[in-house]
Every structure is written in structure tokens, then in C-alpha cells.
Amino acid sequence: MGNYVERFNARERILHWFVMVSFFILLLSGLGLYSRLFHGYFSLFGGGQAAIFIHKYTGVVFLVSSILLFLNHFKEMKSFDEDDRNWFRRLGGYLDRDPEHINSGKFNAGQKAFGIFMGIATVLLGATGFVNWFPASFPIDLVRISLLVHGLLFIMFIMFVIVHAYLTTIGNPGTLESMIYGNVRRIWAKKHHPKWYKEISGQ
């Protein structure tokens, strides 16, 4: 019995890398549109017009890959059980120095909620982005609301992504391996996702 168990297969990892890389391209090309404070980021793309062009087409890549990733994991995050409610009550144990055991499945309640948010936000960002792409084709009030909602979702997105990046790297050592190699150490699985580990190992 090896020290590792598979957590994400190659398809899931590649999809996630598509989502991640396109997200950062969208972030860098969109920052200058968010505020004149970030006008300098346009120069990464050779100017504002080029940045907008790249933002639009990268948005399509992000939309497709993010939806595929969402659908791929949908069955694992669509239902919340008593253990998940316990996770929410204890905020995942993240605000305890010495947290109690929480019996999570493949994804804990926070990850499920994050995944569902990402799915919904992706669709809304895509829809509002499409309206902003062709403003002349839509009623002006819809364009105005789309600009607002696109910005609002971006803010929520970036805040969640910061927390996501923290929790999957330095916050929970050993997690990043699942996105790079696909495998995690058995002690990692037992510690963070005991119910899932039990299912896959039969222990």
C-alpha cells in the first residue's frame, strides 16, 4: 500500500489549470477596466484595446472550462449532510487553535459552497460580460446593471480566490500536491477528509 491516494484525475487537474490560468489573464486584463488606478496593467497586453480583446476571448475559455469543472464535481457537492452542517457551525474549525474532529467527505462543506458559488458566479459573469461586450444590442438599463453585477461578482470572486489559494497552499500543507500530481498523502486524506478516505480505502 503506497503512501498516496488519488484525489483529482488528470482531466480534473487540466480543467482546473485552464480555469486558473484564464482567471489570471482575465484579472490582469480586466484590472485596468475596474479602475484607472490600475491603468498600468494594460501595458502588459500592449494597450487598453488589446487588453479588452484578450479579456473577451479569455472570458470564453474561462466560462467553458469553469462550467465543465463545475459539472465534473457537481455530484460531489450537490448535497449537504449533518456533518456538513456541523462544519458550518464550527466554521470548519478554522477559528479554533485546536479544532475538533469534523467528519468531511471528498469535499467539506466550505468547499462545496465555494464550488457552487463558482458555478453560479461563472454563469453570471459570462452573461453580464456578454452584455458588456455588445452594449448596443441590449437595453441601456440592462447594460448598466450588467456593469455593476460584473464588478460585484469580480470582487466576490477575487476575495474567495485569495482564501482558496491560502487554504490550498500554506494554510493546509500537503493540499497543493492534489492539483499538481493528483495524489495526496494518506495522512492528509485521513486528517482532512476522513469520510472520503474511509470510502476509498475501505478502512
Binding site: 503512501n3 485596468g32 477596466l33 475596474y34 479602475s35 484607472r36 491603468h39 494594460f42 494597450g47 487598453g48 484595446q49 487588453a51 479588452i52 474549525g93 478554522y94 477559528l95 479554533d96 487553535r97 485546536d98 479544532p99 475538533e100 474532529h101 469534523i102 452594449p135 448596443a136 441601456i140 438599463d141 447594460v143 448598466r144 446593471i145 456593469l147 455593476l148 464588478g151 460585484l152 469580480f154 470582487i155 466576490m156 477575487i158 476575495m159 485569495i162 482564501v163 491560502y166 500554506i170 494554510g171 493546509n172 500543507p173 500537503g174 498523502r185 494518506r186 495522512i187 492528509w188 485521513k190 486528517k191 482532512h192 476522513p194
Partner: protein, 259 residues
């Protein structure tokens, strides 16, 4: 508001609908003619276009058995608090001239069209080059000590250019109601109307659209707070509650419960 601020005043009661202003604008700004189709009205063209920075709106009103026209010179009104400038992400694409008007520099426009959504008066247009166009109140003529082309051509002094406070004082002395004196921090183009603003197709109380206000004046600062709050939050978590380290691989405890 600085005393020296200039303004443009449109006294609609003097307008005879001759459209000299439309022609003079096209001539000075070298704008091509738009091909239009007769639609049973003298109003032509029916809307502002990328090649038409100002036009006369013909409002047909019943007047007993007959009817009468109200004429309105439609153009960018150069808001003191301009929605287009608020949302424009490209510094210098829309800018304020020293006289207080809003001009544009097509070379700096990045074609995002945010200004179209943010304008309370539905003015900015995008041409074949996908760059913003609108009335810039002949900043080039004013800079050279001349009147705007439309005002120069107007035969009835409907279009007047001068110090803002003087134009307003004169209008008030003549017992006229000034449209745009205080709206949006004061419009650079003021109207004297013979009827309610709505009759002329002008908003009664023009303001920055609510969604645009929430986007730029509320969400934008909150977003910066949210971003840095998240960064500081996770770093604080790291040094207080700390990471969830895995026990040594060969440890007897080997996992199970947290902690």
C-alpha cells in the same frame, strides 16, 4: 464653481429650426453627411450619429386646431459631474477643458463604451473606427479665441456662449427658468425651455444612473477594501490560528482527528 467658468446657453424660444448649427458643426469638424430617409417630418437626421454632434429636435405639439413646433438643440451638455468621465478607464480619452467642458481624444479611447452606459442624456456615439465621438464644444476654436462653430452660425442668438454666471444672471433677469443650473454639479450647456423638460425629451432631474453610481462610487472603493481585507485576513490567520500541519508521516498518531 470658479467665477471664470464658461457656459453655453440655448434659448429654445429663439430657435427657428434652421439647422445652421448642424451644418456649421459638420463643416468645422469635417464630419461627413449621413444619408437619411424621409419619415414625414422636417426633423433630420432623427438622432445624433457619430458624424452629427448636434441637431435640432423637432417636437410637434397640438395647438388648438393647428400645431406648433418646439425646437431643441440636442448635444452633449457637458455635465459638471460627468458620468462619462466617471466611468472612462482610459485617462485622457475624455477630459475637461480649462473652460469646463468635456472634450475627447480618440487616440486614447479604448472602445469600451462605458461612457455610453453612463451618460444620463444618451449622447456618446461610436463611429466606424470604434472610438467615442460627441460635441466637444469646439475646444479648438475656443482655445483660439473664437466662438463655437454652431454659436457663430446661429442667426437668432439661440446659441450663446459666455461666462456662466453672466448667462444665468441675464436669463433670470428675463424671468426664465434655467435648466441645468445645478443638476449634475451644473451643466456646461444650459437650456431655457418654454415647457416642461420632459416635453423636450430631457430628463426632469438628470442624475448619474443609479447602477453606475453604485458601480463606481460604492463598489469600487469597497472592492479595494475587500481585496486587501482578504489578503490581510489570510495572513493574520496564518500567524494566529496557524496552518494545519500534517503529523510526521511515521508518527504513531498518523492522523484521524484534527489537531
Amino acid at each position: 464653481m470658479a467665477e471664470s467658468k464658461m457656459a453655453f446657453l440655448i434659448d429654445t424660444s429663439r430657435c427657428i429650426g434652421c439647422r445652421s448649427c448642424q451644418v456649421a458643426c459638420k463643416q468645422w469638424n469635417k464630419l461627413d453627411a449621413d444619408k437619411t430617409v424621409s419619415q414625414g417630418t422636417y426633423e433630420n437626421p432623427r438622432d445624433l450619429t457619430p458624424n452629427l454632434y448636434n441637431r435640432i429636435r423637432f417636437i410637434e405639439k397640438a395647438d388648438g386646431d393647428s400645431f406648433k413646433w418646439l425646437f431643441l438643440n440636442e448635444r452633449c451638455v457637458h455635465c459638471g459631474d460627468a458620468g462619462c468621465m466617471k466611468v472612462c478607464p482610459s485617462p485622457g480619452a475624455l477630459y475637461r477643458t480649462k473652460e469646463g467642458f468635456v472634450a475627447f481624444n480618440a487616440e486614447k479611447c479604448i472602445s469600451c463604451k462605458y461612457c455610453v452606459a453612463a451618460c444620463p442624456f444618451a449622447v456618446p456615439r461610436y463611429g466606424a473606427d470604434d472610438k467615442v465621438t460627441k460635441c466637444h464644444l469646439c475646444f479648438d476654436r475656443i482655445g483660439a479665441g473664437m466662438f463655437p462653430a454652431c454659436a457663430k452660425a446661429c442667426p437668432t442668438q439661440t446659441l450663446q456662449y459666455g461666462p456662466r454666471s453672466g448667462l444665468i444672471a441675464r436669463a433670470k433677469a428675463a424671468k426664465k427658468t434655467v435648466y441645468g443650473e445645478a443638476d449634475l454639479s451644473g451643466l456646461g450647456v444650459l437650456y431655457l425651455l418654454d415647457d416642461k423638460p420632459e416635453v423636450y425629451g430631457l430628463p426632469a432631474n438628470p442624475s448619474i444612473p443609479t447602477a453606475i453610481f453604485l458601480w463606481k462610487d460604492v463598489l469600487k472603493p469597497l472592492g479595494l477594501l475587500g481585496f486587501w481585507g482578504s489578503v490581510v485576513g489570510v495572513l493574520t490567520h496564518y500567524v494566529t490560528f496557524g496552518p494545519r500541519k500534517l503529523e510526521e508521516e511515521n508518527s504513531e498518531k498518523g492522523g484521524g482527528a484534527h489537531g
